[in-house]
C-alpha cells in the first residue's frame, strides 16, 4: 500500500509513546508494514516528544518536514508548532486543552490564544478536527487517558488503515489491566467526538 505518514506531537508525560506502540501493534496485527521512530532521553524532561509512524510500503522510519499525511497533536501549541511538518493536504487532529510551557510563566514568550491557533491550522491544512480531549478523558474517569481519546479520534478519521476493533485489541494487549476499561471508554469517546 502507498505510505501513510503520521506524526504525533505531545508534551513529555502525555502518553504519546504508548499511543504509537498501540498503533504499531495494530498495524502488525493487520498485516500492514510499519516503521516507527521516536525520541527518548533528554527530550523527555518536559520537552516535546515526537513519534513518527510510517504505514505501508516505505523503508524510512522518520518523516521529513512538509511530508506528514496526518498530524495528531496532544497539545494545541505543539500542534501549531508542528505545522512545518504538514502540507496543504495534511489532516490534523488536535486536543484543545492547553499546557503552556514554563517559559511562558517566566515571561519568555506569550502563549497564543486558542482560537488564533486553531484558525491558523485550519486555514493551512486540508482538515482540522479539534476538541477538548482532556475533558473526555476525565469523562472516561481517566485523566491519563487523553492519549486513548486522541487515538479514538485518529482511527475514526479513517486515514490510518486500522479498524477500531483492531485498535481496541491492541489497547487490550498493551495497556495496564487496571486502566483497561477507562482506556477503552476514552477511546470510544474520542471515536465519537471525531464523527
Amino acid at each position: 500500500m502507498d505510505p501513510v505518514r503520521l506524526i504525533i506531537v505531545a508534551v513529555g508525560g502525555q502518553g504519546n509513546l504508548l499511543t504509537a506502540r498501540v498503533l504499531g501493534e495494530a498495524a502488525l496485527a493487520s498485516g500492514i508494514p510499519v516503521h516507527m521512530s521516536e525520541i527518548h532521553g533528554m527530550a523527555q524532561r518536559g520537552g516535546v516528544v515526537e513519534s513518527s509512524i510510517v504505514f505501508g510500503d516505505a523503508q524510512s522510519s522518520i518523516i521529513s518536514d512538509s511530508e506528514a499525511d496526518v498530524l495528531l497533536g496532544f497539545e494545541p501549541a505543539e500542534t501549531l508548532r508542528a505545522l512545518n511538518r504538514c502540507n496543504k493536504n495534511t489532516a490534523v487532529i488536535t486536543n484543545t486543552s492547553p499546557l503552556p510551557p514554563f517559559t511562558a510563566a517566566i515571561g519568555k514568550g506569550v502563549y497564543p490564544p486558542l482560537n488564533q491557533m486553531l484558525d491558523l491550522i485550519s486555514a493551512k491544512t486540508a482538515s482540522l478536527k479539534a476538541f477538548d480531549a482532556l475533558k473526555l478523558a476525565h469523562e472516561a474517569n481517566n485523566p491519563l487517558g487523553l492519549n486513548m481519546v486522541l487515538l479514538g479520534a485518529l482511527i475514526r478519521s479513517g486515514i490510518i488503515p486500522i479498524s477500531a476493533d483492531t485498535a481496541k485489541q491492541a489497547i487490550k494487549d498493551n495497556t495496564k489491566q487496571a486502566f483497561l476499561e477507562s482506556n477503552l471508554k476514552a477511546f470510544d469517546l474520542g471515536f465519537e467526538a471525531a464523527a
Partner: protein, 617 residues
C-alpha cells in the same frame, strides 16, 4: 517471562531497535553483558538487565565504559561470549582498553555496541565511531533495519570468534529508537562456565609481546578484508549506470527516494553493512561501468574517502561525491527529503517542489525546552547555592546528567561542560587562574564514573574549589539505572554492596565535607555558605531522592501546594528564582498545578509572604 526470552522461533514481534539487538545477542548465546547507560543505548542494557533476572545471563551496570569493556574483555578471554553496550562518547572512555584489547584479542565472541547520535538528540557531540574500527583495526557492522540489527548482533559473535577479535556493532539513534517487526529465531544454550589458561606472552601487553601482537592484528585485518568482500551485508541492488553507496539508515532514505523519483531502474545501490574494513573488490567491481557515484552516509566521509581511494587505485576517474555544499552535510542526521533532493540534484532528475506551507503569519510560540521536573532536588540546590553565594562572583563547571538542564534560566547554573567527569577537573584548572569562586556540579553516578580522579587531583594539588555532588540516589537522566552509591535493596535487588559517597570523599582526604538535605532551604543555605568560605577543597553532598525515582519506589506522597491569594503580593520570587514547571501564570497571578506539584515545599520556603501553603483535604 521476558518477551525477548520467548522460545518461539518464527514468531513476529514489534520491538524497539535496542530490543532487536538484545534478542540477536541472546540468540547468539551471549552470557555476559556489561554497560554504562547512555542514550540512545539505554534500553538495550535494560533488556539485558531484566533478562539476567530470569536466565543464566550475567549482566552488570559497570562504573564506567572503560570498566564495562574490561569486564566484558575478561569474560571473552575466559571463553564467555560477551557484549558491552555504550553510547558513542562512552567509547572514548573505553578507548584505552579497546586499542590494546585489539592486540590481545578474544577467545570467545565479544561485541562492542556503540550507539551514535547524529543530530545530538541527547549527546554532547556527534562523533562518528566508525573511525574507532579503523583506529583499533576492528571490524564494524552497521544495520539498516531492525531485522538486520538483530541478525548482525548474532553474526557479530561468529565473526568475532573467527578473527579472535572484538567486533564493533555501530548503530545510530534512528536504529536504537525505531520500532518495527522482527522474527524470533532459535535460542541457544549459552556457555556460562569460563576457564583460563596462562599464556602471558600472548596476553600481557608488554612491548616485546605487543610488537608481535600488532603483526598478528594486521594479519587478522587482512583476513577481515577477505570476509568483508564476501559478506552478504555488503550487497548490490539494481543495475543502472548511476551508483549510490550507502549504509545504515541512509540506505532506507535512498530506497524511498529512488521510488519517489521514479529512477529505481537507473540506479545501482551498493549497500555497505560491513563497513570496516571496506570491501575493496566489491567497491572496485561496483565502479565498473558507472557514470558517477554518490555516497550517502551520515556523519563523516568515511566510505566516501575509501571509495575514492579505491577508485584511484584502479585508475577510475568518474565523479565520486558525498559531502559537499549541494549534497550531504557532515552535521546532523539525514531525512528522506534531504536525501531525495541530493540524489535528484546529483543525477539531474526532476524533483517536484516541496509542498512547504507559508507559516509567516504564525506567531512565535514560547519554547518548550526540556526542564528539570517539578520538585526536582537539583533545582533546590541551584537556588540554595545562588542564595549562599549572593555576594560572591561564582562560576559553575557542570557535568553530564539531568542537572545539565540547570543551564537554562532562571537557574542558569552551568557555565562549562565538556564530558563526563569534567566538572571537577576543569574546576581545578579554572580555580587556579580566575578570580571567581569555582563551584562544580556533578551527579552521583557521574561522580563514580569519572569524578573521583578529578577530586583526588583537587585534593592532591590543593585546588581552591567547591564540589557539589547532587546525590539523588539514582542515574536519573537515562532512566533510573543503579550506580555504586545506590541502595539496591530498596530496588528489591540483592547481592550488591553500596558505596558511601561521603566515605569516599572523606577517605580521599577532603577536610570540609557537608551533607545537606536540599528540601530544607535555610539550613542548606547556611551550610553551603560555610563550605564556600573554606579555602581549599570543600565538598557538599546534596542527598534527596530523584522525585521520579521516589515515585517509582512508591515512597509516601506529599500534599501538593497552592497559592494563598490573600497573602500573595505578587513578588514572583517563586517563579523567577525556581522556574518549576508546576507553576504557571494565569490572569497575571501565579498559580500551582496540583497535578504536577509533588509537595517538595521549596517554593513555600522561598516566598517571603509565606503565601504558598499545602492543600488541605
Amino acid at each position: 517471562m521476558h518477551k525477548l526470552l520467548l522460545d518461539q522461533p518464527g514468531k513476529e514481534m514489534l520491538v524497539l531497535g535496542n530490543e532487536a539487538i538484545a534478542r540477536g545477542a541472546v540468540e547468539a548465546g551471549v552470557a555476559c553483558a556489561t554497560t554504562y547507560p547512555g542514550t540512545p543505548s539505554s534500553e538495550l542494557s535494560l533488556a539485558f538487565f531484566q533478562m539476567s533476572k530470569e536466565s543464566d545471563l550475567y549482566f552488570e551496570y559497570s562504573t564506567n565504559e572503560k570498566v564495562a569493556l574490561e569486564v566484558a574483555a575478561a569474560a571473552a578471554n575466559a571463553g564467555i561470549r560477551s557484549m558491552c553496550v555504550m553510547k558513542h562518547v562512552g567509547v572514548n572512555v573505553a578507548a584505552d582498553a579497546l586499542m590494546t584489547l585489539a592486540y590481545i584479542g578474544v577467545k570467545a565472541g565479544m561485541v562492542l555496541l556503540t550507539a551514535d547520535d547524529p543530530f545530538m538528540f541527547s549527546s554532547q557531540n556527534e562523533q562518528d565511531n566508525r573511525y574507532y574500527g579503523k583506529m583499533a583495526g576492528l571490524c564494524v557492522l552497521e544495520p539498516s533495519s531492525l531485522p538486520e540489527a538483530k541478525a548482525m548482533a548474532t553474526y557479530a559473535f561468529e565473526l568475532s570468534e573467527k578473527l579472535g577479535e572484538p567486533v564493533i556493532l555501530r548503530t545510530t539513534t534512528r536504529i536504537n529508537h525505531s520500532t518495527g517487526a522482527i522474527t524470533l529465531g532459535e535460542l541457544v544454550k549459552p556457555n556460562i562456565k569460563g576457564s583460563f589458561t596462562k599464556d602471558p606472552f600472548n596476553l600481557v601487553a608488554i612491548p616485546a609481546v605487543s610488537r608481535r601482537l600488532h603483526t598478528r592484528l594486521l594479519q587478522r585485518l587482512t583476513e577481515a578484508e577477505k570476509i568483508t568482500d564476501q559478506s552478504d551485508y555488503n550487497y548490490v541492488q539494481g543495475g543502472g549506470a548511476w551508483g549510490i553507496v550507502c549504509n545504515g539508515v541512509s540506505y532506507n532514505y535512498v530506497c524511498d527516494a529512488l521510488n519517489d523519483l521514479g529512477v529505481t531502474d537507473k540506479v545501482s545501490i551498493l549497500r555497505i553493512g560491513f563497513s570496516n574494513p571496506m570491501p575493496v573488490a566489491k567497491v572496485t567491481e561496483f565502479l565498473k561501468g558507472k557514470e558517477k557515484i554518490l555516497v550517502a552516509e551520515e556523519g563523516e566521509p568515511f566510505m566516501e574517502e575509501a571509495v575514492r581511494s579505491m577508485a584511484q587505485e584502479v585508475g577510475c576517474t568518474i565523479p565520486i561525491k558525498g559531502k559537499g555544499p549541494e549534497l550531504f552535510s557532515r552535521e546532523g542526521e539525514f531525512d528522506p527529503a534531504g536525501v531525495r533532493k541530493a540524489i535528484a540534484g546529483f543525477f539531474g532528475v526532476d524533483l517536484a517542489p516541496a509542498a512547504v506551507l507559508d507559516l509567516s503569519d504564525v506567531p512565535e510560540i514560547p519554547a518548550r525546552p526540556p526542564n528539570l521536573c517539578a520538585g526536582c532536588t537539583h533545582r533546590a540546590v541551584f537556588y540554595e547555592v545562588k542564595k549562599a553565594a549572593e555576594n560572591m562572583e561564582i562560576m559553575h563547571p557542570t557535568d553530564i546528567g539531568c542537572y545539565t538542564l540547570g543551564v537554562l534560566p532562571p537557574l542558569s547554573s552551568a557555565d562549562f561542560l565538556i564530558c563526563m567527569g569534567s566538572s571537577i577537573s576543569t574546576g581545578c584548572g579554572f580555580s587556579k587562574f580566575i578570580d571567581q569562586k569555582v563551584v562544580t556540579y556533578i551527579g552521583d553516578s557521574t561522580f563514580f564514573h569519572s569524578g573521583v580522579p578529578g577530586l583526588i587531583n583537587a585534593v592532591h594539588n590543593n585546588h581552591n574549589v567547591t564540589m557539589v555532588i547532587l546525590d539523588n540516589g539514582t542515574t536519573a537522566m537515562t532512566g533510573h539505572q543503579p550506580n555504586p552509591g545506590v541502595d539496591r535493596d530498596a530496588m528489591g535487588q540483592e547481592g550488591y554492596n553500596r558505596i558511601s559517597i561521603e566515605n569516599v570523599v572523606k577517605g580521599l582526604g577532603v577536610e570540609s565535607v557537608t551533607v545537606i538535605k536540599p528540601y530544607k532551604v535555610q539550613k542548606s543555605v547556611d551550610a553551603i555558605k560555610e563550605a564556600l568560605a573554606y579555602q581549599g577543597v570543600s565538598v557538599i553532598i546534596a542527598q534527596e531522592l530523584c522525585p521520579l525515582y521516589a515515585k517509582a519506589l512508591k515512597r509516601p506522597v506529599k500534599k501538593p501546594f497552592r497559592i494563598d491569594m490573600e497573602k500573595c503580593k505578587d513578588h514572583r520570587l517563586c517563579v523567577d528564582a525556581l522556574g518549576c514547571p508546576a507553576m504557571y501564570v494565569e490572569n497575571n497571578k501565579v498559580a500551582i498545578n496540583a497535578e504536577q506539584c509533588i509537595g517538595c515545599a521549596v517554593c513555600a520556603q522561598v516566598c517571603p509572604e509565606h503565601a504558598i501553603v499545602p492543600i488541605r483535604d
